[in-house]
């Protein structure tokens, strides 16, 4: 677990400013959501934080070290699951270890114990095409986790799933977060999902996108199963909708 600081990041594409003066801090063990509309620059922000793209301005620090423009430091789960179709599930989740130079056998050995945790028991030798949407998402999450356990960037990990699968994934996710406690930045455009999972929610609004509001969800963790049916939950939702209207 680590602390991530984003300082004053701006980024333009083709002369058009996409995100402007974004600053945020992710404390150890926190889950912070970035909530915003489609095309608002959320993925652009993650590409900068992960080091895949250089920002025009601003810096990114991991535990005090400047990692601006340096990929390979924090785990990043991109908007699609991006499982490699020609590798078995086990070899997909072991990929970060192989890239680090570990031998195939040792890498498989290391990922084995996590299959049960991630609800993928028995899929080791299958190919991604044989998995359901929810399983593919869990496999992608597991791969993200295998890369590093300190900071994870998750770009809309559940948005491609149907509502029922999504809801069961939320339950599973809250549960696993209790065990693995990664500091996590989480992109979503689903307000309920943001309230349900986050410690804090940053609203990314406008063109260019800026963080205009930060809402702290004070509900203790682990969260109750029916938290999204309570009055407090609705109050948070009202607050967010009002802020988005402004």
């Amino acid at each position: 677990m680590s602390e991530l600081i984003v300082e004053n990041v701006s980024k333009s594409y083709d002369g058009r400013k996409i995100i402007k003066n974004i600053s945020l801090t992710l404390h150890e063990g926190e889950l912070v959501s970035i909530l915003g509309v489609s095309g608002g620059g959320k993925t652009t922000l993650f590409n900068v934080i992960s080091g895949l793209t250089e920002p025009d301005e601003g810096r990114v620090f991991l535990d005090g070290e400047d990692i601006t423009g340096k990929p390979g430091r924090i785990s990043y789960m991109l908007q699609k699951d991006l499982l490699l179709p020609y590798r078995t599930v086990e070899d997909n989740v072991a990929l970060p270890l192989l890239l680090r130079g570990e031998k195939k056998k040792a890498a498989r050995e290391q990922v084995r114990p996590y299959f049960e945790e991630f609800g993928l028991e028995g899929t080791q030798k299958q190919y991604p095409a044989q998995l359901s949407g929810g399983m593919r998402q869990r496999a992608a999450l597991m791969r993200t986790y295998m890369f590093s356990q300190n900071v994870a960037l998750l770009d809309e990990p559940f948005s491609a799933l149907d509502t029922i699968t999504k809801s069961s994934m939320h339950g599973w996710y809250l549960n696993i977060m209790e065990k693995i406690r990664m500091s996590t930045l989480f992109i979503t455009h689903d307000i309920d999902e943001a309230i349900l999972l986050s410690d804090r929610i940053c609203l990314l609004t406008g063109r260019p996108g800026e963080i205009t509001e930060e809402i702290v969800i004070r509900e203790p963790k682990p969260r109750r199963k029916d938290f999204n049916l309570t009055e407090e939950f609705l109050n948070y939702k009202r607050e967010i909708l009002a802020a988005l209207d402004r």
Binding site: P71, R73, L78, R87
Partner: protein, 256 residues
């Protein structure tokens, strides 16, 4: 299971069509609609095939040796070209038009030149086969490498992968399908290429056999050798299919 059944049914259909064609051909010959010396009947062809079998096999060995040697070099060369052109854009711009140009020159036109330069032995034949077989591989593999998914490459970069690792884990496996499609074409070209080069000069091989039986107006033997060449090409393509299945097990994974 169902797919298997479909395969068997389609194989039966093909065999039935082939049998019908052979019977029709036999009837045409027996009734004398086409003069016998121009079109031998299937039975005569089969007899010619059986009669010359040992000779055909010894010629086949030479042809296949040339074809395999040429195919191997051509595929290796084509593959390396594709990898280099994918890696270095400047090489792509410089060489791709040249590569295409080599394909506009018909093999039959180059073969006599090659014979003049390199003699009547294996060398000119292998060179001709290399020229005809490298091209599909270069184009196929290059297309495969270039169509690698950007997001997937970004994912690997975010995990700290270098360009060689991206090649090994994303680009190369992604180009396998294209590679095998090209290999199938090249395999067929290699046999035809060997035969054509033997027509134009040589002492052994199915092409030489063909020239000889042609000069003797032995149409039945002519048909026998044509039959042998197509069967060999077909078997080679099947062999490529088989290797592809072994190398790309995930292609079959959707069924179960």
């Amino acid at each position: 299971m169902r797919k298997r059944l479909q395969n068997i049914t389609s194989a039966i259909n093909t065999l039935a069509a082939l049998a019908a064609l052979l019977i029709l051909w036999q009837i045409v010959c027996v009734m004398g609609i086409v003069p016998g010396f121009m079109l031998p009947s299937p039975v005569q062809v089969a007899r010619a095939f059986a009669g010359d079998f040992p000779l055909l096999m010894s010629h086949l060995r030479v042809t296949l040796t040339e074809a395999f040697a040429g195919l191997f070099c051509g595929v290796a060369f084509g593959f390396v070209m594709a990898v280099l052109m994918d890696r270095f854009d400047r090489l792509y711009k410089a060489f791709y038009p040249l590569v295409v140009l080599t394909q506009t020159v018909p093999a039959v036109a180059v073969a006599p030149l090659l014979v003049l330069w390199f003699g009547y032995e294996m060398m000119p034949k292998i060179i001709l086969i290399v020229i005809t077989t490298f091209f599909p591989v270069t184009v196929g593999v290059l297309t495969g490498l270039r169509s690698a998914d950007r997001d997937t490459m970004n994912l690997l970069r975010s995990m700290g992968a270098g360009s060689f690792q991206i090649f090994r884990y994303v680009k190369l496996p992604g180009a396998m399908g294209q590679f095998f499609s090209s290999l199938r074409i090249s395999a067929a070209y290699s046999v035809v290429g060997a035969v054509i080069s033997e027509w134009l000069g040589g002492f052994n091989g199915l092409g030489v056999y063909m020239t000889r039986v042609k000069q003797a107006f032995a149409f039945d033997k002519m048909f026998a050798v044509i039959f042998l060449i197509s069967v060999i090409s077909l078997l080679l393509m099947k062999l490529v299919d088989f290797i592809q299945k072994k190398c790309m097990p995930w292609e079959d994974a959707h069924e179960s």
